[in-house]
């Protein structure tokens, strides 16, 4: 039996009709329609489904939608646009930290969460902080560079 819940996503309240066992990922993508958040493994292993929940990075594929009630969810769509981008997005673009782009939304949001709790991370802290996000294309090198650049821009 479906139940109605309210989720606050990207600053807006959405009333959705869902099953209690639906993941936050499923609701974001299929009910609300924000397809920027990706389903990579659906098992909490790859990080592609990362969203922010009250400024913390969470894996939306292993978070129940019902448990997201009363929190502030931010998906990649809520971060910025090309004409008004977030500093992290700009850094990723300019440093060449994007190849196929599938891990990118999750990676960008994980970066946001990292920089929120540590505004000037060392390389080791960056690698540690993002270790839950897998990328098959870049070798992570330019992502680390982008995070450093973004940290620099954000502390200005």
């Amino acid at each position: 039996m479906k139940q109605a819940i309210v989720l606050n996503i990207n600053g807006q309240d959405y009333e959705v009709l869902i099953e209690s066992n639906w993941s936050l990922l499923k609701v974001i993508r299929e009910v609300v329609g924000f397809t920027g958040t990706k389903k990579g493994c659906d098992q909490g292993e790859c990080g592609a489904c990362t969203v922010l929940m009250d400024d913390q990075a969470v894996l939306s594929c292993i978070t129940l939608a019902v448990d997201a009630q009363g929190t502030r969810i931010v998906t990649i769509e809520g971060l910025g646009e090309e004409d008004k981008p977030d500093e992290v997005q700009t850094a990723f673009v300019e440093e060449g930290a994007i190849q196929c782009g599938f891990c990118t939304p999750g990676m960008v949001l994980a970066t946001k969460a990292l920089l929120k709790r540590n505004s000037n991370p060392t390389e080791e802290e960056i690698r540690d902080g993002l270790a839950g996000n897998l990328c098959r294309c870049t070798g992570y090198h330019k992502i680390v560079a982008a995070v450093k650049t973004a940290a620099g821009s954000l502390t200005k």
Binding site: Q43, C100, A131
Partner: protein
């Protein structure tokens, strides 16, 4: 040194913004009204006859709209070559591996579809199965494909020169056997397709494919629909690496289920399906016998290769052929005998994966070369310099080397890893070592095809359409699966026309509108599509110059296009802006539409699978990689501390993109050497998720990666370009293996080199 306006600059990808904002659509993101969801039923047996399939219970489940099995596709078979059509959309008659697709269900949502799959009853008669290629070749082994005795999928034998004499004259001979494991492409975006079959007999699909035109042909054949009515529209692709080239069950099933239901159908695999049943890299066993002279110069090779093909052929013939052809480069090989087999086993099908056979054979050859160096007390760098091919080299099997910066790459990589200093250190007495960490460096060379010349359709085409406001549309058939090809093609266009990259709107494949293209594999996009785009851009430029010449009263051949201007060199008053010229051409005379077009294909014969002679591509990339590793003798863990890539890529069109490709190549090479393996027992995958199939994380990558570009200006490449994304995976593996030996004195003949294997080896040697 040419002063380019756009090329050779560090330019962000043309598709970066749509990816970083989450706006760009991958296949799974595309939805259509009324869309249904499909799920595939897979075989639990490695080898079995299908006795019956009962879908009645499943069909009764509310929400199920249709179920199909192999018989729904009639006698349709497909494959990569005309003589290797051994694949069917769903299994017919028997199943040949655990996970092979047997039926497909479509329903109103995934929960119903998954439930329905569980309700399908299949009766199997299990058959004996075989999992090892050597066993599969033995008489009496279970026969996997009735028309392939001995389970031989492909065999290939060549003989050049006189190896018996060469071995007899050799100063030193040795024989080694190497094993390279099966691993996965590992793309984070699962296979996905959305299909819409129009009752009027038109097919429209949005699939995640590196080579959409293969699917377009296969769908046309499978559904008996003319090519002009098969529309494959390319979404953004989340990585391919060779694993999204072919056509698979989900593709055919999505179209068939759409046909049967009259509704759009989406099928997306999950990672467990991919890890346990989708295509993967060929496992390789190579026995190499090498003879060298007193100076370590190669006299002869006798090579036997066995590839594990899994249950079907796919692009296997090319993989096997490449293990042959890349024995001849990057070192001079005067005499060689090669015997190669690709063998069927009851496991998922092996296909191309970044480095496609070249990675496997060069791993074996490069590690063996280090063994020879050690035996003869020759520096591993020096032995490579003595054997290196040079520009203009023609191999004994008639491969022609145009540009070649291999020797330069050896020097540069060695310098960047500080080779001479490190190698001067006294030989470690490993027996007396009682510390914790051991360090070492290793070096390995590589060569790779740049624009593989395959059979069948080989050329690329491009069309450039001018808009009145001075922007252009670039319409081409190549596919960017993440490697950055789209950006390079836009840069070529912008360079020729003298405009900005952002004024070039690059299309993605839509088979109704874009030119037919072989696709994104064999490292061909920059070199092949790049040339087509160059020709199209020059065509467009010539047409515009003609009109500008009339407007300015100047010889069109003397006009330059740069910085948005069209001008006579040395006479700035004789100029017009590109934008203004674009406006004027539409009203010039009767009004012109400017469309530039170009086509290009490698002017060589297709790979010869019979004689083993001739080129496999118009040019070859070369390179050297050097690795510094640290071995923890307490845990067996290996850390790659530094990696250097020195790559002859002809010309570096976009340093930002090229570095990304080098770093990604190293990532996959490290994964291959140290972490990844499809672990199977009796055909069953025992590490079916990312928890146990280890993809390297941020913490596993070397903090220092140096990328050195060597520009040799290849005459057959657009602006001198060669590949720079696949060859760069090839010598990562042996460089690491050689570095581990330098650190520990231990040679590893199989991969991945896990901590367990390291500890066992150390223990066997009597330490740790």
């Amino acid at each position: 040194m040419t002063d380019y306006a756009v090329l050779s600059k560090r330019i962000p990808r043309t598709d970066a913004w749509e990816k970083v904002t989450g706006k760009g659509k991958f296949a799974e993101d595309i939805i259509l009204p009324g869309m249904l969801y499909g799920k595939i039923l897979r075989s639990p047996h490695a080898h079995a006859r299908i006795i019956s399939i009962d879908t009645s219970e499943a069909l009764k489940l509310p929400g199920v709209k249709a179920i199909i099995t192999g018989s729904d596709f009639g006698s349709f078979r497909y494959g990569m070559t005309p003589t290797t059509r051994d694949e069917t959309p769903l299994a017919r008659g028997k199943v040949r591996y655990i996970g092979e697709e047997v039926a497909a269900v479509v329903a109103i949502d995934m929960d119903v579809a998954e439930e329905a799959v569980r309700l399908i009853k299949v009766e199997y008669e299990p058959l004996p199965a075989v999992f090892d290629p050597e066993e599969a070749m033995q008489p009496g082994a279970p026969l996997i494909h009735e028309d392939h005795p001995g389970n031989i999928s492909v065999s290939f034998n060549t003989n050049f020169g006189d190896i018996d004499k060469a071995f007899a004259d050799s100063y030193y001979i040795r024989e080694d056997e190497f094993y390279s494991q099966t691993n996965l492409h590992g793309f984070i975006e699962p296979h996905s397709i959305l299909a819409e079959y129009d009752p009027s007999g038109r097919i429209k699909v949005w699939p995640s494919k590196q080579s959409p035109y293969f699917l377009y042909r296969n769908l046309s054949n499978a559904f008996d629909v003319p090519l002009s009515k098969v529309r494959v529209i390319q979404p953004i692709i989340g990585g391919g690496f060779g694993g999204k080239n072919g056509s698979y069950a989900l593709d055919f099933c999505a179209v068939m289920l759409s046909k049967k239901t009259g509704r759009p159908v989406k099928i997306t695999l999950d990672q467990e399906e991919i890890i346990t049943a989708a295509r993967r890299r060929h496992a390789f066993r190579g026995k190499l016998r090498i003879g060298v002279d007193r100076e370590g110069k190669i006299q002869a090779y006798d090579v036997r290769v066995v590839l594990d093909g899994g249950a079907g052929t796919g692009i296997g013939p090319t993989t096997l052929a490449l293990t042959h052809y890349f024995m001849y480069l990057p070192y001079v090989v005067p005499n060689i005998r090669y015997e190669g087999y690709r063998v069927y086993t009851n496991k998922p099908i092996s296909v191309a994966q970044r480095g496609n056979g070249i990675l496997q054979i060069r791993y074996a050859a490069e590690v063996q070369l280090d063994k020879v160096a050690e035996a003869l007390n020759i520096d591993p760098l020096e032995i490579r310099l003595r054997n290196a091919v040079k520009p203009g080299h023609v191999t004994v099997n008639k491969m022609n080397v145009n540009s070649c910066g291999f020797i330069e790459s050896l020097h540069q990589a060695a310098e960047a890893i500080n080779w001479r200093e490190i190698n001067k250190q006294p030989v470690k007495d490993f027996g007396k070592f009682n510390g914790r960490y051991l360090s070492g460096v290793g070096i390995a060379g590589n060569a790779h095809s740049s624009g593989c010349r395959i059979r069948g359709h080989n050329s690329c085409s491009a069309v450039i359409k001018l808009h009145e406001d001075g922007t252009v549309s670039l319409i081409h058939g190549a596919t960017d699966s993440g490697q950055g090809a789209e950006t390079v093609l836009a840069m070529i266009t912008a360079e020729v026309l003298g405009i900005e990259v952002q004024d070039v709107q690059v299309s993605r494949v839509d088979t109704e509108l874009t030119p037919v293209d072989p696709g994104s594999y064999g490292s061909r996009v920059s070199s092949t599509a790049g040339n087509a785009v160059l020709i199209a851009a020059n065509d467009c430029k010539r047409q515009m110059a003609e009109i500008a010449g009339e407007i300015l009263s100047v010889d069109p051949d003397k006009l330059n296009f740069r910085n948005g201007q069209v001008f006579l060199e040395g006479a700035p008053v004789k100029s017009i802006s590109f934008r203004r010229l674009s406006q004027k051409v539409t009203s010039h005379g009767a009004g012109r539409t400017i469309i530039g077009k170009g086509s290009w294909g490698q002017d060589i014969e297709p790979i010869n699978f019979d004689t083993g002679e001739g080129d496999v591509s118009a040019s070859y990339s070369f390179g050297t990689q050097a690795a510094e590793v640290e071995v923890d003798t307490w845990t067996g863990k290996i850390r790659v501390v530094k990696m250097v890539v020195a790559h002859d890529l002809g010309f570096c069109a976009n340093p930002l993109g090229v570095e990304g490709q080098h770093e990604g190549s190293i990532y996959q090479g490290i994964g291959h050497a140290l972490f990844e393996e499809c672990s199977m027992e009796d055909g069953r995958t025992i590490n079916p998720s990312f928890t146990d199939y280890t993809l390297a994380t941020f913490k596993d990558m070397p903090p220092v990666m140096e990328s050195i570009n060597i520009e040799t200006n290849e005459p057959t490449g657009a602006f001198g370009m060669k590949e720079s994304g696949e060859g760069t995976t090839v010598s990562t593996v042996p460089a690491i293996v050689n570095a581990i030996h330098n650190a520990t004195g231990i040679w590893f003949h199989e991969m991945p080199i896990t901590p367990e294997k390291v500890l066992n080896a150390l223990r066997e040697r009597g330490e740790g």
